[in-house]
Amino acid sequence: MSAQDGSVMEGPGPGEESLGVTNGKIGMWTFLVMDAMTFAGILAGYARLRWTPDSMWPFPIDAFGVIGIQLTALNTFILICSSVAMVHVLAEQMRGNMDRAEKWLMATIGGGLIFLGIQAFEWTHLIIDKFHLLMDAGYNQNFPATFYLLTGFHGMHVAVGVIYNTIILMAIRRGRVTKDHTSTVEIAGLYWHFVDLIWILVFTFVYLI
């Protein structure tokens, strides 16, 4: 049994009766329930504003153009690849090959950064060239508003994920996360896959239908 005073960094471990996973994993799962509900609230708001009669909502193809949708589709692909790379991090760590795990983690972080870069480019382009034209054409003003809210809130999650993964990368380099700490990587992976999953929803809602 571990001690409770502040000098001990680690919390207490699982008890005799447990779900057979680490405490941290349950913590992450329950956190993700909460996070999913935050997105659900925003997406429900989006749906309500868009799918009402005479909402004057532009079709994605009119708003973003073919190139815009294709670029974001590419971005989606990059984020999925980054998620796959995260799976390899854990796989290599379980084989005990920390060098390769580190490289895969760098690929994961790189994917997240590229995603953020393309999205920043997309935002700039839309703000400067697109949205005011749509507004002049009499489309619903909440089209850009919900776009900012959904993609911005998701982008914040990607940024947090990049920072989270970078912290783990540094911990691997300093030898504080070794081949025995698979649950640390697994929990970070849960978060990263969740961010990926949410993006697929956001992408579908905003860019495809």
Binding site: Q4, G6, G15, E16, T30, M34, A44, A145
Partner: protein
């Protein structure tokens, strides 16, 4: 320098802290021990509860006579009901139950501490700054007047441009973060840190209630957060965001949907831990196992699930389709079924039991009686045709106060008296505890019962002034509120005085009748709860009538 001679978890951790009270205080404020954090939560919520109580007294004084009484300026009055609700809901009831859970749950499941002790401390320390932010409008004299619901367009930047409104919104988001952190912690702890033999359907019902409440918090609070985020964006950048503004293609009713999707489950967040407390208290003071244990657990889950599909009963007058309203009416009335299961199970537990009427039991019985009244007026409000008449009248005020004062608050008192010997290692003054109970029970009815009539007769809620025909009833209500508030000072004084001067409590204080693990450890418990991981001897649950062997605990031995 006098030496600090506290026992158990109250004793200083280091030698230096024994003689230095500042070090001892620092030890408390930076503690990661769930028991100490629980006490911090309770102390904080007591302060906020008194603050919310003072606000309600100001409201009641203003309403004692018709015409201006206390405030020449109605706009200050307009701000009070919203802040009273905010203080009581977010800073008194919810943190108080979180505190009780922090203290009791790890011990009840046989764990040394919560799963994430530092997250636990962080969740607590978000609260005081959040309170400062939420109520910051009081310091800069810029109070929003849109009530605790904050409906746009009233709450948008045109009608409520004051800075205090932005602080209020930000404060609520912070409280949401704090309670979510606590919920994550509770779930990880309860699911993963149970001692040997503590299967899920062996858990004490209080722990069960914390599981269900934590799921409610996880699923409901973020929806409020998303609504508040949208509101903030709309207030900050009115040219870009028009979520709730029809002029920009938005929809004000959307806010109400999101708000009530949180705020209806929120009433269960505020009452389910109380249900758990009552289940503990009733079985201890009846010397019988709780009647229908499995159904008691499932009915809490049923209440939680149903609680997510009834939110539009707050919106019968907003103009949603009649078919939809009738559907929500049906679902709302359905909640009376699992709630009824609980009420009848408590009564069946008492039936044929060997009852002891100590203060916790008095509060438990008072709760069962009063909460039934509050539940019944809820069924009245649930019917669409009646609610259209009663919406936004004092009937709603009466209903919510029967549910929250006679419900949540009485359960909280029952729990505090029940576990006080365990938490402090001392015994409170039983005489003053009973005085507190009787004053509370009588004067909460004096305060709120006539409000039913006011509402039916047509007195609107939240207004600064009213028709003179309501004056006599308002006078009685205000007088009752003042006595009710003063009675709570007895409670605070009793607990504070007894902490120092009370008699030492027994380990299993209530006649040796506590059966859960918290009564198997010393009063107060040790820093680590248990010297070594305990083992829970499973309770075989089967129906045994009171005159059969095993029916009453004392006959079992």
């Amino acid at each position: 320098m006098t030496e600090i001679k506290a026992k158990g978890y109250l004793s200083p951790l280091t030698e230096e802290a024994k003689t230095n009270k500042w070090l001892y205080l620092k030890e408390w404020l930076c503690t990661t021990d769930a028991k100490r954090i629980g006490v911090l939560y309770l102390a904080f919520s007591a302060v906020m509860g008194l603050f919310g109580g003072i606000l309600s007294i100001l409201i009641r004084i203003e309403l004692a006579h018709h015409g201006p009484v206390l405030f020449a300026d109605p706009s200050l009055y307009n701000a009070l009901p919203g802040f009273h609700a905010t203080a009581m809901i977010f800073f008194f009831i919810i943190p108080a139950f979180t505190g009780a859970g922090n203290f009791v749950v790890p011990i009840q499941i046989g764990a040394p501490d919560m799963a994430f002790p530092r997250l636990n401390l962080a969740a607590f320390w978000i609260l005081p700054p959040a309170a400062l932010v939420t109520f910051f409008g009081f310091f800069i004299n810029s109070l929003p007047e849109f009530g605790w619901t904050g409906y746009p367009p009233l709450s948008n930047n045109v009608y409520s441009g004051m800075l205090g409104a932005d602080f209020w919104v930000l404060g609520l988001v912070l409280v949401g973060v704090s309670s979510t952190m606590a919920a994550v912690n509770f779930l990880a702890t309860i699911f993963n840190m149970r001692c040997k033999g503590m299967k899920l359907f062996q858990l004490p019902l209080f722990t069960w209630s914390i599981i269900v409440t934590s799921f409610l918090i996880l699923a409901a609070t973020p929806v409020l957060t998303s609504a508040l985020l949208m509101l903030t964006f709309e207030r900050m950048f009115p040219g870009v965001f028009h979520f709730f503004n029809p002029a920009g293609g938005g929809d004000p009713v959307l806010y109400q949907h999101l708000f009530w999707f949180y705020s209806h489950p929120a009433v269960y967040i505020m009452i389910l831990p109380g249900f758990g407390i009552i289940s503990s208290v009733v079985q201890t003071f009846s010397r019988k196992h709780i009647f229908g244990y499995v159904l008691m657990a499932w009915s809490m889950m049923a209440i939680a699930v149903l609680g997510f599909v009834v939110w539009a009963h707050h919106m019968y007058t907003t103009g949603i389709a009649l078919e939809v309203r009738v559907g929500f009416m049906f679902l709302t009335m359905l909640i009376a079924v699992p709630t009824g299961i609980k009420i009848f199970s408590w009564m069946a537990t008492m039936w044929g039991g060997s009852l002891k009427f100590d203060t916790p039991m008095l509060f438990a019985i008072g709760f069962i009686a009063m909460f039934t009244l509050g539940g019944l007026s809820g069924v009245v409000l649930a019917s669409v045709s009646v609610d259209i008449q009663l919406h936004d009248t004092y009937y709603v005020v009466a209903h919510i106060h029967y549910v929250l004062v006679a419900g949540s608050m009485l359960t909280l008192f029952a729990g505090l008296y029940y576990w006080y010997p365990k938490v402090s290692g001392k015994m409170y003054n039983e005489f003053w505890g009973r005085v507190h109970f009787w004053l509370t029970a009588i004067f909460l009815n004096v305060t709120f019962f006539l409000q039913h009539w006011m509402g039916v007769a047509g007195m609107p809620r939240r207004y600064y002034d009213y028709d003179p025909q309501f004056e006599w009833a308002n006078m009685i209500s205000s007088g009752g509120a003042v006595v009710l508030f003063l009675a709570q000072l007895i409670f605070v004084a009793n607990l504070v005085w007894s902490w120092k001067y009370g008699e030492d409590a027994e380990d299993n204080h209530w006649y040796g009748d506590g059966i859960h693990l918290e009564w198997m450890v010393p009063s107060p418990p040790d820093h680590h709860n248990f010297p070594e991981p305990p083992e829970w001897k499973p309770i075989i649950r089967q129906h045994v009538s009171a005159d059969q062997p095993g029916g009453l605990w004392h006959r079992q031995q």
